[in-house]
């Protein structure tokens, strides 16, 4: 039986690995060279954070699984990321809106986790905070410029906001796992992060001339391993190297 801390670490690690992988899909395809470097740069930050979280999760579990075993050695139903992280990239507007939503959430999460009673999580949070601050700035600048840009960029950004709105609420979900941990001061209570998320998003969305999304309805299931159709294709590519060369090293 997995402990709450292991489960929570796995969820957070999966968020970062899966979103990092999605961003990496832009490598070589971004609309301009500058973004072709910026997006994989953010992807590498996310995958680096995932590595730290997987490694710690493996230690907490104590079953001998390392970061690679956790990242590459599970079936689709074993991944417990939030669905927004696996949503397909769509166009550049959708990718940037998704990044902004997630980065602002993580900004609040890491800020709270810095004071966690778990010193390892607090240390991971202290490092990740700086990286996340940059992700917020970069994605927010694009959301603002495209939202309040040309007719085409405005249309694309509005479509992105509409498409992604029902995937945001899942980030703020609580269950017995998070309840047990937040009661002990180990893990930030997800619903408590929502007001901060709204406060941080408000000036961005105002400048982007976009409405605040309705968080009332949310697709859910990611934390139980129930995924969207795109997840299988994502994992097929993510797992390829470990399937072809099990246990490979550089």
């Amino acid at each position: 039986m997995a402990t709450p801390l292991f489960t929570a670490l796995l969820r957070l690690a999966d968020d970062h690995l899966i979103l990092g992988h999605r961003l990496s899909e832009w490598c070589g395809h971004a609309p301009m060279l500058e973004e072709d470097l910026a997006l994989p740069n953010i992807a590498l930050d996310l995958i680096g954070q995932a590595r730290a979280l997987y490694t710690y999760a493996g230690e907490v579990e104590g079953a001998g699984r390392d970061e690679d075993a956790l990242a590459y050695g599970r079936h689709e139903r074993g991944y417990v990321n939030a669905l927004i992280c696996e949503t397909e990239n769509g166009d550049f507007a959708r990718t940037m809106y998704r990044q902004c939503v997630f980065a602002v959430f993580m900004g609040r999460f890491w800020e709270a986790a810095v004071t966690s009673s778990d010193p390892t999580l607090a240390a991971i949070a202290a490092k990740a905070r700086k990286e996340t601050a940059y992700h917020i700035r970069h994605s927010a600048e694009w959301v603002i410029r495209m939202g309040d840009g040309t007719d085409e960029s405005t249309r694309r950004m509005r479509d992105a906001a509409t498409y992604l709105a029902p995937y945001i609420g899942e980030l703020f979900e609580a269950d017995t796992v998070t309840d047990a941990l937040s009661a002990d001061g180990i893990w930030p209570d997800p619903p408590a992060l929502q007001s901060g998320w709204i406060a941080d998003m408000t000036p961005i969305l105002d400048q982007a001339l976009l409405p605040m999304p309705d968080l009332g309805f949310a697709h859910t299931g990611g934390r139980q391993g129930v995924h969207t159709e795109g997840m299988g294709y994502l994992l097929a590519e993510l797992h390829y190297m470990q399937r072809a060369y099990p246990g490979l090293t550089w």
Binding site: A30, P31, M32, L33, E34, D36, L37, A38, N41, Y134, R137, H138, E141, R145
Partner: protein, 97 residues
């Protein structure tokens, strides 16, 4: 990669590698405005820890010498070797200069 829209201007990027050194020109990039140019410069030119400070300048704001005038601009300096500080013996006690 698609052609850049002519509305996205070009910026020259200057990076200061360490405190105490001057900013040095390291390249150029496209960005919609100054704020985005600084961010792009960070991603394009400081990924390996090259910098502690970034300047960006609109390329259109740079006034350059005309290559056609190179002869009159630069050649007169060629035969004035006495301007190089190489005619002095430095005492050993001075050490490295």
């Amino acid at each position: 990669m698609a052609d850049k829209s002519p509305e996205i201007p070009l910026w020259e990027v200057f990076i200061r590698p360490r405190n105490g050194l001057a900013h040095r020109h390291c390249g150029s990039l496209h960005a919609a405005d100054a704020e985005m140019a600084v961010q792009a410069a960070r991603d394009v030119y400081t990924r390996r820890g090259e910098g502690t400070s970034i300047w960006v300048v609109p390329s259109a704001q740079i006034t350059a010498s005309d290559p056609a005038d190179a002869a009159e601009t630069f050649d007169p300096a060629d035969d004035k070797v006495y301007r190089h500080p190489t005619f002095y013996d430095i005492p050993d006690d001075v050490g490295h200069m």
